[in-house]
Point group: C2
């Protein structure tokens, strides 16, 4: 097993300018694991309720995702209701029903506890710490995401998590809130001063910025003709990012740069349709063609 | 004479989080012509008042800028007062004193009327049309900028200008207002449907997007440690963009791509200090090093 992701699996009700879905598979671990599955072996640790559709578990498994850590619990699956009607870049949460996710206590089997790549998706930082402590040895690379809620109510635990990860992936607004800085290079420097070697600051339709030791990369968002549903774009980015790094099994400036573009590539597919509808049905050719489109989107000639 | 720019010369009073200046040389034609002067011959057509400092004219001339079209008129130089205190990306205009610029009627001498590259900076579109009609032959390339005021009060004349230019450079917010679209590729397509072959949509700290016939380029903003004063960034972009195109004397997808990065390079210098303080004192090495920094900011390796 190359990559372990611990995060949420959810049924989402989403409304966007393109339409409405009442219950679609979502959650950070879903987007992450499906995106990463195109590059590397992935195991998913999470919890679902007794209402979880066997077809959804089968979809994971069709992508080669190890779901032995996806526990089924009595109760209902985590449910998020949100909309992007005013601003396609900004989800407005209408309702959160934690359901079985409210009592989630990640338990790692021995097959998972020695994964060399670990992604701590956006969950309570105390649980993120618990997962880190459950690893039999320190993974080669640990990345984490977080959100405003944990910055507000669990800052000490979150800072502890951040001090222990290699890369923090975080939305720009939340990165500003975390660091109390508002100028991108200052935000990135402040995050790196908390411990990580690198950080990816996610900027919605403006793409993402990767900052590492003495370098930065501006990864644009792909100018898609239609953005249908931005839900899961950030976790798809993380899945492509970690999936690529695990596939090359090397984490350095050069691989991080390419990984950020792979992340952008996978995020660009996710937003093309509702939920996982586009992401789950990609071919290698689709991915290579979109990656090449990013090459074209960023290429220019030397100054002559 | 390779490039003719028609636009404003101003004294600006500016306050930013980094400080305050009571009267600094500015105006679209100032930033444009100084930025372009590093690449190509430039002539500036505009008007100043009797208060115009001879040292400022000498600064243009030290950059090889032809100021024979910079008319001196009785009265005061155009004066803009603005601040960027709440949002470094968004100028708030506190006062505009048009002064001699209110009666500006561009007159082109014969040395200017056959320039192969023409930049119509942000002025009344009726004057932009008059300049276009004054050219002895249609220039090889015409680019224009505009602003919300003209979209509001002179839309028919502005649409006439846009139908006659090769490239429209425009702020994202104003591009949305102009096209009544809000998704970047739709905005760009709508502009191109009005006539231009290409458009540069300026996105402040998020950089600029170039759209042409079947291609697009995401030009990032440089993640500078400190942004001191964003005034003139867009006109400096335009100056670098047109200056580079005039220097290679070829306008096609490949040269437009490089030109957009040269534009971003020049804009990145402008914002590093108040007014023209940084832009006016560059060396070729400074420019090459910053351009190379853009190469590093955008480079990644193939998907392996």
């Amino acid at each position: 097993m190359k990559i372990l992701v611990v995060g949420s699996v959810a049924y989402d009700a989403v409304e966007t300018p393109a339409g409405k879905r009442n219950s679609q598979l979502g959650g950070s671990a879903s987007y992450f694991s499906v995106a990463a599955s195109y590059f590397s072996e992935v195991a998913l640790v999470g919890v679902v309720g007794s209402d979880f559709d066997p077809a959804d578990r089968a979809m994971y498994e069709a992508h080669g995702i190890d779901t032995s850590g996806l526990i089924s619990s009595n109760g209902k699956t985590f449910r998020w209701t949100g909309e992007y009607l005013k601003n396609i870049n900004q989800a407005v949460t209408l309702e959160t029903q934690l359901n079985v996710f409210g009592d989630f206590e990640p338990e790692l089997g021995s097959a998972h506890a020695n994964a060399p790549f670990l992604f701590l998706a956006n969950i309570d930082p105390n649980l993120q710490l618990k997962v880190l402590e459950s690893m039999t040895e320190r993974p080669k690379m640990v990345a984490a995401d977080t959100m405003n809620l944990w910055i507000d109510i669990e800052r000490p635990a979150l800072l502890d998590v951040i001090s222990k990860v290699d890369t923090l992936l975080i939305n720009e607004g939340e990165a500003m809130q975390l660091t109390e800085q508002n100028h991108l290079p200052d935000v990135a420097a402040a995050i790196i001063s908390l411990g990580p070697d690198s950080t990816v600051i996610k900027r919605g339709e403006y793409g993402a910025a990767l900052f590492g030791d003495g370098f930065s990369l501006a990864a644009p968002a792909y100018p898609l003709e239609r953005v249908i549903d931005p839900t899961g774009a950030g976790d798809s980015f993380a899945g492509g990012f970690m999936g690529y790094l695990a596939s090359v099994d090397r984490v350095d400036q050069e691989t991080l740069r390419t990984a950020a573009i792979v992340g952008s590539t996978m995020a660009s597919f996710t937003v093309e349709d509702f939920g996982l509808d586009r992401l789950k049905q990609l071919t290698r050719t689709d991915i290579e063609e979109r990656f090449d489109a990013f090459v074209n989107l960023t290429r220019f000639n030397p100054l002559s």
